[in-house]
């Protein structure tokens, strides 16, 4: 090797260029964007069996064959409160649809069950409200924050996902997609 320093410089340059090419090819894999997507999309929805505020239980088996809107929320979460009008509007339009169910799942609530029941009544939330005291369902759905909404098709597949505040039109679009797949 006549000029080893030149060969080393060339090797370093090749590595740097290779790194640049690899990084350029991976510009599309934005970690921030990836953290706002759900890996459950297109996969079977996790099963759940949770207590309701009414004392009854609600399970994914009970809702099989329906389009199910699963909304993780909490009474202390500001965006959750902000999206309640959209959820109410959506549910007012579909409460009588036999093929649609909506389940609000609270985990890590600061309120007792009684206080939460009063809150739900006062806020006029007339869809199913379930409790997830050990956050098992939140873990199964790989929840990242709140509010978080999943739409499950009648065949049991997760077809819609919204991290953060959702709008009535978003829910309508996801419902239409779920019905199309059902």
């Amino acid at each position: 090797m006549k000029h080893p320093a030149r060969w080393i410089a060339l090797a370093v340059a090749v590595v740097v260029v290779a790194l640049g090419v690899v990084l350029a090819l991976n510009v599309g894999t934005d970690p921030v964007a990836a953290s706002k997507e759900s890996r459950l999309i297109g996969k079977p929805a996790p099963s759940f069996d949770l207590p309701q505020l009414s004392g009854e239980r609600v399970s994914s088996d009970d809702l099989a064959g329906k389009t199910v809107i699963v909304n993780f929320w909490n009474e202390w979460c500001v965006p959750c409160i902000a999206e309640l009008p959209a959820l109410k509007k959506f549910w007012a339009a579909h409460a009588n649809d036999g093929d649609v169910a909506m389940v609000g799942i609270t985990h890590a609530s600061n309120l007792s069950e009684k206080q939460l029941a009063r809150y739900v009544e006062r806020a006029g939330l007339d869809w199913t409200i379930a409790l997830d005291p050990k956050s098992r369902a939140a873990l199964d759905f790989a929840v990242r924050g709140q509010p978080e909404t999943f739409v499950i098709s009648p065949s049991g597949e997760v077809v819609g996902y919204q991290l953060s505040e959702t709008r009535a039109q978003d829910l309508e679009a996801m419902l239409a997609a779920a019905r199309g797949l059902g």
């Binding site: 370093v12 590595v15 985990h107 956050s135 790989a142 990242r144």
Partner: protein, 153 residues
């Protein structure tokens, strides 16, 4: 020959020792230590800048409980980490994985340091190979004259 090789051998042993100390995997042996070690490498999903081990968020508690359950079920640390990566994506890891494209993050600094070390070795070797300059009689005479002139001043 031994005199020339000895310093390099000592340097090699020192570097190898430092690498072993730095890179040797931690010996988390009890289930609780293993659970803490795994949780410390996962990012809290509902808070910022905290690991699952340090967070009081409900999902972090659930993840910690799930890690313990999986350890009790006989899953390896790698399998448990992979389970959460499959579930949440690589963004759940506080440190990039040492596979795939993430490998670059670990390999590149080593490559650059190794290249730099090689460069120094070759530079020193070249310096040693180059002939040393010896003073000619004319040089010696010139220096002698200068010394005499300085002494007489």
């Amino acid at each position: 020959m031994i005199k020339r090789v000895l310093p390099w051998l000592a340097l090699g042993i020192l570097v190898a020792g430092v690498l072993v100390v730095v890179l040797w995997p931690g010996d988390a042996t009890t289930p609780a230590e293993r659970a803490h070690s795994i949780a410390a490498g996962l990012k809290c999903q509902e808070c910022q800048g905290l690991s699952v081990a340090d967070s009081n968020a409900s999902t972090s508690s659930a993840i910690r409980a799930d890690i313990k359950r999986r350890i009790a079920a006989g899953e390896s640390d790698g399998e448990i980490r992979q389970y959460f990566v499959d579930k949440y994506g690589e963004t759940i890891l506080l440190e990039p994985q040492s596979t795939g494209i993430s490998l670059i993050v670990w390999v590149l600094p080593v490559v650059v340091i190794a290249a730099g070390a090689l460069g120094i070795v070759f530079a020193l070797a070249r310096n040693r190979r180059e002939p040393r300059l010896h003073a000619t009689d004319a040089d010696e005479a010139l220096v002698g004259r200068e010394r005499e002139r300085e002494a007489s001043e």
